[in-house]
Symmetry: C2
Subunit: 388 residues, 2 copies
Amino acid sequence: MTGVRVAGVGLTEFGRHPERTGRDMFAEAALAARTDSSVPVDDVEEINYGNFMGSLAERQGHQAPLMAEMIGSRCSATRYEEACASAGVAIREAVRSIRSGENDVVLAGGCERMTNLSTAEVTEGLSTAADDLYEIRAGVTFPGAYALMARAYFDRFGGEREDLAHVAMKNHDNAMPNEYAQFHREITVEEALDAPMVSEPLGLFDACPVTDGASAVVLVSEEYAAANDLDAPVSVTGSGQGGDSLALQNRKQLAVTPATERAAAEAYEDAGVTADAVDLVEVHDCFTIAEVLAIEGLGFYDPGEGIGAARRGETTATGERPVNLSGGLKAKGHPVGATGGSQIAEMTRLLRGDHPNSEYVENATVGVTHNAGGTVASAVVHVLEVDR
Amino acid sequence: MTGVRVAGVGLTEFGRHPERTGRDMFAEAALAARTDSSVPVDDVEEINYGNFMGSLAERQGHQAPLMAEMIGSRCSATRYEEACASAGVAIREAVRSIRSGENDVVLAGGCERMTNLSTAEVTEGLSTAADDLYEIRAGVTFPGAYALMARAYFDRFGGEREDLAHVAMKNHDNAMPNEYAQFHREITVEEALDAPMVSEPLGLFDACPVTDGASAVVLVSEEYAAANDLDAPVSVTGSGQGGDSLALQNRKQLAVTPATERAAAEAYEDAGVTADAVDLVEVHDCFTIAEVLAIEGLGFYDPGEGIGAARRGETTATGERPVNLSGGLKAKGHPVGATGGSQIAEMTRLLRGDHPNSEYVENATVGVTHNAGGTVASAVVHVLEVDR
């Protein structure tokens, strides 16, 4: 089985770009990734594209061949939809495509256009990632669902809103130098605690923003990288995916995320690493409590221990294992279908040493990305390693 | 690389079932496929699910983990969206998953719920498979788009409406004994020619119906089939996928389908067969002209020669190479996200000898399925072979 190298990565600026179409944004990210990789477009054999709500936001389904066309290719192209983990599964299938020997060069990533919609339309669109029959019709929205998970966590393990405020503050700090981030604004714990409540116990700064943006990654086989003398020091060495019930009501408990646990176990085994070996992490912090659940599900903390990690400084840029050096979904932004690809792009930059925050992890060799769908009904985990 | 066996197939009755949810229909098809296969649910390692417009028709995205839940599984599950070829790509990824050695048992298929919508809503939903900016806003609908392709074909190669009427009549004949088909009604050439015009030159009987339904297939590795002593005589020996521009305006000509040609070339090479070796075919006849374009794109006829195939009796049940013995999309029905899986299920039944139309192909060993997205902006081709 061949190894998989990250030959290049590309991102658009994340933020409010209501005038830009999805095809426009993905083309920019894909061109940037190709330029970064030095791989000619004719060598791209497959395009794996993540998108969540394009049929609602742009009345545009069947986006994959459109995205191929936008970059001047007629290669086979497929859209993956796994709610907020759409690009994560697109990347995962690209890894499988290369490992199986079928293709040497796959372009994978995703895009989401959101801010052209009204707040009500976005809320309704996002809610289609939960169970329409048993959650949405009962009035559950995503802030509400994650608030239920936060309450369950506090009830079972303890913790308080101030712990979550430290997660938000950390991620805003990390986003400050990131040229692709939606927010470049430091916040304090007091600001977070004093902000308007969205759904008790989650306030405004516990939630990620609504974001437009795109991500793209060029993945190649070891053999292609060698034959073409590519500068591609980062490899994808592990990939895993896990599932859970779509509706929260069908889970035994809400303060743990078995889909993340399953995806992590598979990815670690695939890479031949343990959680202890991981130097830095990008996790799916659509809400601050989601970061806590993720670092526990990934095995970095025992259940109930992750809540204090940011407050204790263990997951900050200067901590022992930095989490979300990109700024995370919380401060970098969360263009739903692009996020899983953005995590791979940011981790690659961090490990290669060309990310504004690379200075904090100069000796890091192993990074993990974690992309989750809905209330973690699905999760995708990747392990990336760099030649040092 | 391991071989891939079809261990079992399942279908719901295709037709108008506006009261049934997508999850309900897919669960029925998946249970039928599991029962047919004798594979226990705990052995299913991955679910690949095709769906096109669930976020419009049911306000339900993120359907893959929901479908896993419906069959009592928490395995990793992914939704594929490639317009009308959604289940085709889901099947293709299942083949790759098994061949790569990652999994031994994958359940793949798809579902679409459509008749709960109004005609206007369905037309609008289906139109999202074309280019919103450059086709839909200019007034193009799918019957209109295929009418343009039919006109281009007639202009370039000749042919007339009566040729297409023979395609419709043939497929209605084939659907007669099929217990899963939407229509059990013979039609005559005169009826087809006298039917109301939908979009010149395509009349009512040139178009497939709006359909609810689901399909599921259990695919397993050769090793798993042997170890568990499964009765699984049919193998998937070839898989290919091709792309083209989304919008018709960006193609050099409309009377050929390069996406089909690319997918077929890849699938034939993969299986080590030529078009001449193929005994029977299930093609994507969303409109009668689409069947003509498909049998040419698949290499069974030179360009311009396929139009008369049904009229000459070559593609009928008793012809030399029967096309759409299931009844095709035209008469069996076209639940968009389910169709690619239905084709694999029907081909398997035909080759195994347990399809009502198996009597016509008793000595057949090689079958081909062809699933297309939109105006063939994407195409997926599979080769199936049976042990005799």
